[in-house]
Chain length 188, copies 2
C-alpha cells in the first residue's frame, strides 16, 4: 500500500487534477481552498516570472511560476526562508504542437533539406495550449507552522480542488525542505 | 542553395546563437543591435508573461515570452495589428533535468511502484537551466515599414548578436503575417 500511495501522491501533486481542462481565468472569486484556507490571489496573472518548466507524460504540460512582490524580492536577494507574505503561483498549460516552430520550419521541411533534423526539432517543440490548473503556495510561518510555514492550494478554473488533492501538497514538497520547501529556482 | 539556406534561417531564428550560454542579465546596456537599431529594453525581466514554450533538439530549450504594457494590453484585448510601442521579449534557457520532478518522485521510483510510468515522467521533465539569449520584437510601423512594422534584435549576455543573425529574423516571422508577424498566442 505504502509505495503505491507515495507514487500517487507524487503524481497528483505535480499534476493537480489532470482531467481539469477548463480555462483558468486569472480571476479570484474569493473561495478558499480546503485544509489551508488559501484563496486564489487577485491579479496573480500579472505577477513577474520566476521560472518555467515542463513535466512529461502523462501530464505533458508547460508551466510558469509567477511570484508576488515579496516572492520576487526574496528570490533576487537569495533570502531564505522566504518571508511571510510570499506567494508563488504555478500556472500550467497542456503542451500542444508548436505553431511557432511548425510555421517557421514547415516550408524548409517540404523542400527536404535537413529534413531529419528539422523533423525531430518539430516533433519535440511545444507551446502552451489549454490551461490545466493553478497551484499556489502562501508563506505564513505562524498560521502554517505545521507544514513548513506554507499554505497550499489548487484551483481548477478558479475553483478550489477538493481536500484529497490538498492532502498531497505538503508531502510532495517535503523533499525541498533545505530550500524552504520550494522546488523552483529563479531563472535569470 | 536556396533550400539549405532556408533551413538554416529557420533554425537560427528559433535558436538565436545556440552556442551562446552566458547568462542574460536582464540589464540593458544601451548597445543597439545591427540592422534595426533595437536596444535591450530596460526592465524587460519584470514584464508580464505572455506564454511559454519548448523547442526541441538541437536547441532543447524552455522559453518565456514577456510583454511590455502595450503588448499585454493588445494581447488581452485581441488588438491586431499590435500598436506602435509594443515590445515582446523572448527569454530562453537550456532545459535541464527537473529537480522538481526528480526530488518529488525519486523516492517513489526507488520503491519500485509504477516505476515505468514515473521513470518516463521523470525522463521527460525539465526545468530552466542556464539562459541562452534574449530576442526582442519592437513595433514601429513607420520606422520598420519594410519588415512588417517590426524591428528585431537578439542579445547574448546583454550584447547584440551580429548582423548575420539579425538577417534571419524577419524571414522567419513572415509566415505569421496573418497574425501581424507574431507567432506567440497569449496563454490564459
Amino acid at each position: 500500500m505504502r509505495r503505491g500511495a507515495i507514487s500517487v501522491v507524487a503524481v497528483v501533486a505535480l499534476a493537480g487534477v489532470v482531467a481539469s481542462m477548463a480555462p483558468a481565468s486569472g480571476q479570484a472569486d474569493g473561495e478558499a481552498a480546503p485544509i489551508y484556507g488559501v484563496e486564489l490571489p487577485p491579479g496573480y496573472r500579472d505577477w513577474r516570472l520566476i521560472s518555467v518548466a515542463r513535466v512529461g507524460g502523462p501530464l505533458n504540460d508547460l508551466r510558469a511560476k509567477l511570484g508576488n512582490e515579496v516572492a520576487i524580492k526574496a528570490y533576487r536577494e537569495g533570502k531564505r526562508p522566504f518571508p511571510d507574505g510570499t506567494i508563488v503561483a504555478r500556472l500550467a498549460w497542456r503542451q500542444v504542437p508548436s505553431g511557432e516552430t511548425n510555421e517557421a520550419v514547415g516550408r524548409s521541411l517540404e523542400r527536404g533539406s535537413s529534413a531529419d533534423a528539422l523533423q525531430k526539432l518539430l516533433a519535440d517543440s511545444f507551446e502552451a495550449g489549454p490551461p490545466t490548473n493553478v497551484q499556489v503556495m502562501v508563506k505564513d510561518s505562524r498560521k502554517y507552522a505545521s507544514t513548513g510555514g506554507w499554505g497550499f492550494a489548487q484551483f481548477n478554473d478558479g475553483k478550489p480542488a477538493d481536500e484529497a488533492v490538498h492532502k498531497t501538497c505538503f508531502p510532495c514538497h517535503e523533499p525541498a525542505k533545505d530550500r524552504d520547501f520550494v522546488f523552483t529556482r529563479y531563472a535569470p
